[in-house]
């Protein structure tokens, strides 16, 4: 039933949600750490954060400040849409390894 709903949602919105020419920023997860741990992005603009998880284990990108939450499977890459943001810094963590996996997005 939920799969049907997902399909319906996909058909409704899936095509429109793809934005073509956004600024892309890369982030790598390795050994339960974000690299780089600080990403500077333009303020007031929508951007795409491409997160590559090189670890074999999954990670959950989470940020209350950014209002974002996304599970990234092991050895895979995920896209997270962010912004437009006001100038400021927005911390995020890898929820499964909160001690080491920390970072911040700085909007300028």
């Amino acid at each position: 039933m939920s799969r049907l709903l997902l399909l319906a949602l996909f058909l409704l919105f899936g095509t429109t949600s793809a934005i073509a020419a956004d600024d892309e920023f890369k982030l790598v997860i390795e050994n339960h750490k974000f690299e780089p741990s600080e990403v500077t992005i333009p303020a007031g603009k929508k951007i795409k954060l491409i997160v590559e998880n090189r670890d074999a284990t999954p990670e959950e990108f989470e940020s209350h400040a950014l209002n974002r939450e996304k599970v990234i499977a092991g050895k895979s890459t995920a896209t997270i849409l962010i912004g437009p943001l006001k100038p400021g810094s927005y911390p995020f963590v890898g929820e499964y390894n909160e001690k080491t996996a920390k970072g911040v997005i700085v909007a300028k």
């Binding site: 039933m1 899936g14 284990t57």
Partner: protein, 278 residues
């Protein structure tokens, strides 16, 4: 080990609270315990599959599959919770009068039980899949310490289930006169909170505009990652930095379900129509 316990506890707290509240709210429906168990089991099996398919789900809808999947599950749960509340508005009085014997209404009872199964199954599915992934991560990690971390995970699960059970047992102590009103209000806020979460995923997928981000910021005052913040988030959908669209969803669901409940209550003797939530 302690950190692991906390993470797992946080992940399953929401599901445990939902199951506890729904289990209490459906007391008196014949066979509800069996259906509850079936719902949890189905949810756990589903959680395993979702955890296995994380990568594949994420790739759907040009990389926004996970967001849409979560929004769909939450949306379905909102509809079921709303439907449950409307159903209880017309049958709660009868259930309270005779908490055991409503056998004359078998078909309606069956419908209520399948709602119960779906709500509980969805809650366990969503929160459970993240727990499965996290525990898998620990189990798969190389080197020592993973046994003690798994023990921490088990402790977190036990603690979460204990809280869910406490909520259930606590609710059952409410006098029957107020009981279904109390659980009705709790379910109402659960549904509104889930609607706001669904909106957040749709914003994250760029399907909906955020309107204002954030509409307010109480993160220095009551951080969402604090114990109180986590509890309030699970129970009434508290967010320290919500977007405007989330509040629109929250209020809309709150008003629609509350109005429906009032309307059915006013109608007095149970209207035969099946009130739909959305």
């Amino acid at each position: 080990m302690f950190a692991t316990a906390i993470i797992v506890f946080r992940e399953i707290l929401e599901a445990a609270l939902i199951v506890g509240i729904v289990a209490a709210a459906t007391r008196g429906i014949p066979g509800s315990n069996r259906w509850l168990g079936a719902g949890i089991l189905a949810g756990l099996i589903g959680a395993g599959f979702v955890a296995l398919g994380t990568g594949r789900i994420a790739e759907l809808a040009s990389g926004m599959g996970q967001e849409l999947f979560n929004a769909a599950i939450l949306g379905l749960a909102v509809i079921m919770l709303g439907w449950h509340n409307l159903w209880m508005s017309s049958h709660g009085a009868a259930l309270a009068r005779d908490a055991r014997n409503v056998g004359n209404d078998i078909r309606d009872g069956r419908r209520a039980r399948s709602m119960l199964l779906i709500i509980v199954g969805l809650a366990v599915l969503r929160e459970g899949s993240e727990t499965v992934l996290f525990l898998y991560g620990i189990a798969a990690a190389e080197g020592g310490g993973s046994a003690s971390m798994l023990a921490g995970g088990a402790a977190g699960i036990v603690a979460g289930v204990a809280v869910g059970w406490l909520v259930y047992a606590g609710l059952l102590r409410i006098p029957l006169r107020w009981f279904f009103t109390a659980t009705g209000v709790l379910v109402l806020f659960l549904a509104a909170g889930m609607a706001s979460q669904a909106a957040r995923f749709l914003i994250q997928a760029d399907v909906l505009p955020s309107l204002a981000t954030p509409l307010w910021d109480t993160s220095s005052w009551l951080p969402q990652s604090s114990v109180a913040g986590t509890l309030l988030h699970s129970l009434v959908g508290y967010e320290a930095q919500p977007s405007g669209m989330q509040i629109v969803f929250y209020v809309l669901v709150l008003v629609v379900i509350a109005t429906g409940m009032k309307w059915i209550n006013k109608g007095g003797a149970r209207p035969a129509g099946n009130g739909t939530a959305a």
